[in-house]
Amino acid sequence: MTPDLLEQGARRVQAHMEALAAHKGQTESGGRTAGFGRVASQGEVDVTHGRILYLEDVHVSFDGFKAINGLSLDIAPGELRCIIGPNGAGKTTMMDIITGKTRPDTGTVFFGSTIDLLRYKESEIAQLGIGRKFQKPTVFEQLSVFENLELALKTDKGVKASMFFKLDSAQRDRLADILHTIHLADSVGRLAGNLSHGQKQWLEIGMLLMQDPKLLLLDEPVAGMTDEETERTAELFLSLKGKHSLMVVEHDMSFIRTISDIVTVLCDGSVLAQGTLDQVQADERVIEVYLGR
């Protein structure tokens, strides 16, 4: 920004302040605060520009292998986006980048229009409101279902706060709600390690919901689930759509058909095609690299 512009800006603010003082409480904009631009508050996700997640021209290479190669992608608030792509397309690496596990070599990753995710650590990104489910269900096997959910609960996660933590009644209600949502109400006291594979997947999704994230990244959420469990998961995701933004990586096409609006196809670390499932399935390039027909 040039000194000229800075000066102009300063003059405008000064003029406005004088006008405010002259009218005593009556502003130019009829009682509303004047629009200098919104005040960005720390940690708050600004989605007024219609995008909750924004990746542009991201590159990552591991020992010369370009895992992500010029990836640009954006997701709207409340959207449920499905990501498909052949093995090695960079789907998991993309999630690693968004959640702070991997740092890109170059590129921009924003959460809302103000939060630069590349400046934060994994735990901070989780607190900002991005939840992630791993490809392999990852729960705390030696803790009970209840304790797993309790740990994930959105609250102060400092050391001291944890030492003196007590669940209050609102939090208990929330925990009970989620237990119903993930159909594990009967297993509340069981060790997570003793759950079936599908139940572990559900528990992990439940832990994500306890965090109350604005954006959920789900890596193969229905892998290893029975048909019935898959169906319930689809219902759950559709009910979350709108309230949360979801990014789902899946290989199960019938599952994707049930839940998807827009499908993004990744290949060799960048976006190959994007559209409805029918559109991408009709795309020549997609057929060539992915569907293999």
Partner: protein, 367 residues
């Protein structure tokens, strides 16, 4: 809607637990002193001074084992350097005890004998606080705590895990041992500190002083047990177990695991420091061999034998292994190391949850 019963928080100890805890307190602080001091030496009920001293020593080890249970059993971080923290606490106390010798040393000097021998004229800077008992109590906790904090901060920040972490803790205690062996560091070289005379100006070699130290060790062990119990029973403790099971999940749940690991690591080191400080006046010597890698490995063995993922397990393990050690080293001295090796292999292969785990399993099988 919420017609499910959510589990309520567990109390610190169950009713039976409290009864057992109080019983242990009574036995150690009333029955043992009575049997040792009041029952005449000829009687069958008399507890010998040797038995009391041995129990006190093992209780110091048990505190270390408890500390190991917290860091290894609950957090999944195997430290092979806890002997260092034990020795640091011991050295802090030893420095005070050396100063308490006063003019009664061999050289009748105000300086500890080894300094006179080295022809030093005044106390080195790091002995500045050693004259004060209050400051010593502070250093006993602060020095191991600070060393652990600094070491842990860099190790955990660099995300050093698993066997790599164990190896560098081993290197840490080995390096410290070499440092303390040197005369110019001012810790008495390979002889360390010994020949203590007094503590708080009271002669140290009396029966009543020995019993006082015994009771203090007992109380410390029991209080540390409750502290550990509180720690692992809180959400903090569950986060530690979560770190052990799936650290990345903990991070993606919004916890900065560095702070958690560092906290429990430092607390664990401080507990070892206190154990060392109680140990030194009772055994009457501290030297760099306490920092030898083998000593630190033994602490891990106690925890493993007893059952590392419990709190009572490491304490039980310390008693079993050290009890066996004091018996075997007298009866079959040449077999002790074979026994120790066999014990560790046996426990790893057949009792992954230790003795306490085995008892739990047997009980569970019956019920």
């Amino acid at each position: 809607m919420s017609n499910i019963t959510l589990p309520t928080p567990q109390p610190l100890l169950t009713r039976t637990g409290w009864v057992a805890w109080l019983a242990a307190l009574m036995v150690l602080c009333a029955l043992v002193p009575a049997l040792n001091l009041l029952v005449p030496a000829g009687s069958a009920l008399h507890l010998s001074d040797f038995a009391v001293a041995l129990t006190a020593k093992i209780m110091c080890y048990a505190i270390c084992a408890l500390a190991m249970g917290l860091i290894w059993g609950y957090t999944g971080i195997l430290s092979l350097g806890h002997g260092l923290f034990f020795a640091l606490g011991g050295y802090a106390m030893g420095m005070y005890l050396m100063r308490q010798i006063g003019l009664d040393g061999n050289y009748k000097s105000n300086l500890p004998d080894f300094m006179v021998f080295l022809d030093w004229k005044e106390l080195p800077w790091h002995w500045a606080l050693s004259g004060s008992f209050g400051a010593t109590l502070f250093l006993v906790i602060a020095v191991p705590g600070l060393v652990a904090f600094v070491f842990g901060y860099f190790a955990f920040r660099s995300r050093i895990k698993g066997v790599y972490f164990s190896i560098i803790t081993q290197a840490m205690t080995f390096a410290a041992m070499l440092l303390f062996f040197r005369n110019e560091t001012g810790f008495g070289g390979n002889n360390g500190f010994t020949d203590f005379k007094r503590i708080l100006d009271i002669p140290i070699a009396t029966t009543s002083m020995r019993m006082t130290l015994f009771v203090m060790t007992s109380v410390t062990l029991l209080v540390f047990f409750l502290l550990a119990r509180w720690l692992v029973g809180s959400k903090f403790g569950r986060v530690l177990q979560a770190v052990r099971d799936a650290e990345s999940r903990v991070m993606f749940s919004g916890y900065s695991t560095l702070g958690y690991k560092l906290t429990i690591w430092t607390i664990s080191a401080m507990m070892c420091g206190v154990a060392g400080a109680l140990y030194v006046p009772q055994v009457g010597i501290i030297n760099p061999s306490e920092m030898s890698p083998a000593n630190s490995i033994e602490i891990a063995i106690w925890a493993a034998v007893g059952g590392r993922a419990t709190l009572i397990g490491p304490i039980v393990g310390a008693f079993i292994v050290n009890g066996a050690k004091s018996w075997l080293t007298v009866t079959y001295p040449e077999f002790w190391l074979y026994f120790l090796g066999a014990l560790f292999i046996g426990v790893t292969l057949f009792l992954p949850d230790g003795v306490v785990g085995l008892i739990k399993k047997l009980k569970g099988g019956k019920a």
